[in-house]
Amino acid sequence: MSLFNVFNVSGSAVSAQSQRLNVVASNLANADSVAGPDGQPYKARQVVFQTQLVGAEQSSAGVRVAQVIEDNAAPRRVHNPDHPLADEQGYVTMSNVNPVEEMVNMISASRSYQTNIDVMNTAKNLLQKTLQLGS
């Protein structure tokens, strides 16, 4: 019954989207952080989605997070000579997170999450109706 596979497909998408949301949360939380534990400024992270076949069928294509990449954009430099981590010219190096991009990412992830939950709910209803067949 292919309807059961819908849960695998949409479930993988929900899990991938929640991981994306997680990355967005960590990016936004670090938007104003100055230096990480390694002394380097925080670099924005992005998830890379990849199609993953669920089961033997070619038609059930789920999603997985293939990797999490670091954004190599130049870090933001702010002039603040009083800051303890300022360099000789008085600049503080901050993370390269772009809050606007992250907000857009967040809305997109949340919409996709909702859509996939809707799909699973519909599949559940259909399966329940199929179980009641003939009664």
Binding site: V6, Q50, S60, V119, T122, T130, L133
Partner: protein, 142 residues
């Protein structure tokens, strides 16, 4: 005898199987709405049902792309004709995306809703047929 009793249900049962197959294909499209390079898939329900039920097209020709097997050991091409695994096609994109993804979420959601309603319609057909059979078996004593 018994298979003759349930033969009338076979057509709608096949339709139901194909509908659930399509539900899964559309769910895959929706799941991959944000995946780079993913191409949306779908199949032509009419052709698939004709092939699955062994019916041919109106012109009388065998329904699309069935490869003839003229020798033993020839493998079936593309997809199993007469089975419930229809040939998947690629959807023509309406708007191009920068990440080469061809899923249009609005189209997919509309197709999904349409498919759901038709699945329920098939279910109702089967239910009615079962009720008719039960009436024939039990008589009108209730």
């Amino acid at each position: 005898m018994l298979d003759k009793l349930t033969q009338s249900l076979d057509f709608n049962a096949t339709a139901l199987l194909l509908r659930s197959e399509r539900t899964r294909v559309l769910a895959s499209n929706i799941a991959n709405a944000d995946t780079p390079n993913f191409k949306a898939r779908d199949f032509d329900f009419k052709t698939a049902l004709q092939q699955a039920t062994g019916l041919t097209t109106a012109a009388g020709a065998p329904a699309a792309s069935a490869l003839a097997k003229t020798q033993q050991g020839h493998i079936a091409g593309g997809h199993d004709v007469g089975g419930t695994h229809p040939a998947l096609l690629y959807r023509t994109p309406t708007q191009t995306a920068l990440d080469a993804n061809s899923v249009d979420l609005d189209t997919e959601r509309a197709a999904f809703a349409d498919n759901t309603v038709r699945y329920e319609a098939s279910l109702r057909f089967i239910n009615t047929q079962i009720r008719t059979l039960m009436t024939a078996i039990n008589g009108q004593d209730r």
